[in-house]
Symmetry: C2
Subunit: 199 residues, 2 copies
């Protein structure tokens, strides 16, 4: 440890360095930045940290993060509660909401099945999803990422849902809009060809 | 604002985004990371923030950041208190200490003269430096960055110190060790030629 630096500064640097994507140099710069902040700025930052950590929890129904018992989407009666879009993280909901097209509800798994990282199906919110499926459920859209883990999770859950007689769909794979054929990888191109549509 | 996200999460994201070098996407990722932290981790982070902000202040003598009245370097009797190395920021002290060669003390200006950023000499710790200069002072080393502002500040301070009869020196400019001539810019190469030494 560097004994020319004040201990609280070293500790703060270590705390910042624990955050994802923040290296030692960035952590040091952030710690020095805090030195230049006013009392009220530091208080606002701490308050925001504590408030987010203490007041935000999973929605009782869809497991999205919320301060209330139900998230705004589950509490919205104008949405189609019989179409459930299954996503990995709450961030994915933000992405879908940006399209302004999807009017159903969501279910957040909080992870993907990944035996290598010791994430087994029981660690995800899968039983909460199964508990939501009722006679009224029209469709469950598997909207996990197009990765090995995302595919495996989508397959695993669809196998659990099929016996319940519910329609299970998967997001379409194909060329990204605005992309060029030249830069498309072979699997994407193969999927785009396979899933080609009548025009 | 995105009303599908819990308000405390949005607020925390905004707080993270205020930090230097943290964009909107990184801030969001950090906010979600906090959601996954344990209570004690969040407490440790907040404590570190408050402790650093409340307990760390400028050393009475050299203006380095410290929790005590004197920083460890100024409090160290084994160091040469008559050689003062003038630097821009406390981080520069860490860089010098890594060399393990310098045995003098430091003086932190907390900035460089930069009229364009509205930093005038009175906003720097220059009068504190002048107050330290005594009959015993052997040498003041101007160790500001080799930039326009660093040079201007070094020149400004040296003009104030010269009438006091103190020896003022400037860090050597030349080729960085391990660098190649090919990639040296013309000013560095000119300085390296100008300051060439007998071998």
């Amino acid at each position: 440890m560097d004994n020319t630096k004040a201990l609280p500064l070293v500790e703060l640097t270590e705390q910042f360095a624990k955050l994802p994507g923040i290296g030692k140099k960035s952590a040091e710069r952030l710690a020095y930045h805090v030195m230049g902040m006013t009392d009220s700025e530091v208080k606002a930052f701490c308050d925001a940290l504590n408030k987010a950590h203490n007041n935000v929890h999973c929605c009782r129904v869809c497991q999205n993060l919320t301060e209330n018992e139900l998230c705004p989407i589950c509490a919205d009666n104008l949405r189609d509660h019989n179409t459930i879009c299954v996503v990995e993280t709450p961030k994915d909901i933000t992405a879908f909401e940006r399209t302004r097209e999807y009017k159903g509800v969501y279910h957040v798994l909080h992870g993907l099945i990944s035996p290598i990282d010791n994430v087994t199906p029981d660690k995800l919110k899968i039983k909460e999803l199964l508990a939501r499926i009722g006679d009224d459920t029209n469709e469950v859209i598997m909207a996990t990422n197009p990765t090995v883990e995302g595919e495996a999770t989508a397959m695993y859950i669809s196998k659990l849902l099929k016996p319940l007689g519910v329609r299970v769909t998967r997001l379409a794979f194909g060329l990204p809009v605005g992309g060029t054929l030249e830069y498309a990888d072979e699997i994407t191109l193969f999927k785009a060809l396979e899933n080609r549509n009548e025009i």
